[in-house]
Symmetry: C3
Subunit: 153 residues, 3 copies
């Protein structure tokens, strides 16, 4: 187990925009408030969704497409920098939004209460309410050979 003490610098509540992409909205917030590391929980509803399941045998993500309105019964995730690319103002590199990655897991449910869950790649927001705490420290994902995933710490 690897752990680090962190300090919450700032906190935000957000309403995700109807019609926008759920995860892109979270990354847009991270970008707007210059969060290099954050933790969030959220709830709401979406008009459709693409979940991803990580196949541990072949180390590949496989999509699960859902083309119907769904409640977001739970959403937990974090924001970190991919590939350890820091958002430094002194950097001469051009930074894009893509550097801040919102690792997002969600539990969705339909009109019968039936649930679908996994890694949320994209989903069209119907209504979304989010709480995000931004850490003083940055979190940077780096390649992990065992899982073939980008992990932080």
């Amino acid at each position: 187990m690897h752990y680090r003490e962190v300090e919450t610098a700032r906190e935000y509540v957000a309403r995700l925009e109807t019609g926008a992409d759920w995860r892109a909205e979270i990354e847009a917030l991270a970008e707007a408030v210059e969060a290099d590391a954050a933790w969030f929980t959220a709830l709401g509803a979406v008009q459709d969704a693409e979940l991803w399941f990580y196949e541990q045998d072949d180390c590949e993500y496989y999509p699960i497409e859902l083309e119907e309105p769904l409640e977001v019964a739970s959403c937990v995730g974090n924001v970190s920098l991919l590939d350890g690319e820091e958002q430094s103002s002194s950097s001469s590199r051009t930074q894009s939004d893509d550097d801040r990655f919102a690792h997002t897991h969600a539990v969705l449910s339909d009109a019968e209460g039936t649930t679908y869950a996994g890694h949320l790649n994209e989903a069209t927001v119907w209504a979304g309410e989010l709480h995000m705490r931004v850490f003083e420290e940055s979190l940077e994902r780096e390649y992990d050979e065992t899982t073939d995933l980008d992990l932080w710490l």
Copy 2:
């Protein structure tokens, strides 16, 4: 995307009372500590539950009734004021508990591990454990034409 910086004024842990209503207990806590805006997560078990699914086509909630003991595998939500009615001590209006609304989503599961999820309207507590952070700022819900819902921000 609409967002606001908030500051956590106080934090609470609570044990929801066996036999009481899950959401009413959360609203009672909000009332007791005079929380006009809060964010919470919780876990536990209930004796029954009524979930709501929001039908986006006709903008109506439809109930899903569950008459059996269920684990509360996840519960995420927030407290806000409905209709922007502030809990001001200088107000001459008579305030009721109803003004503080706990928007509550939950994932429930039965003896087979099968899950049911959605907007939690009511549920009889078996055991419940909750963490609530109260914000300095208030959150007030107002009518949103697009979704026909009361949204904040």
Copy 3:
């Protein structure tokens, strides 16, 4: 409803170790940072899992065994001391890790997005990301006659 104001002393993010037990990792973190009370949320994936369902009629936990890779779509829980045994440095008793109990609920999902949820007893970590807030105050579980459970507050 029973509640207590708490204060966050410290916060941590952790990466749970691939191949280790999910809940043991959380308890190891609590042990490492001497957390007598904490609240956490987490996400990730596991290689298998044993969920427990609490049968409210006979007040017994029954296991649900899952022998396949699963996403951890949501994980919410808290750390407390069992039986009110305090982790006092002035204590002459020998303390073991077992005193710190991570009450852990989780929602898991498979390759089809189908979900399984409940009280998480054990699960082999594939990848896990956790945020834990440690409280100044301790939480001690004591026997509750009505539910036949160890509850705090």
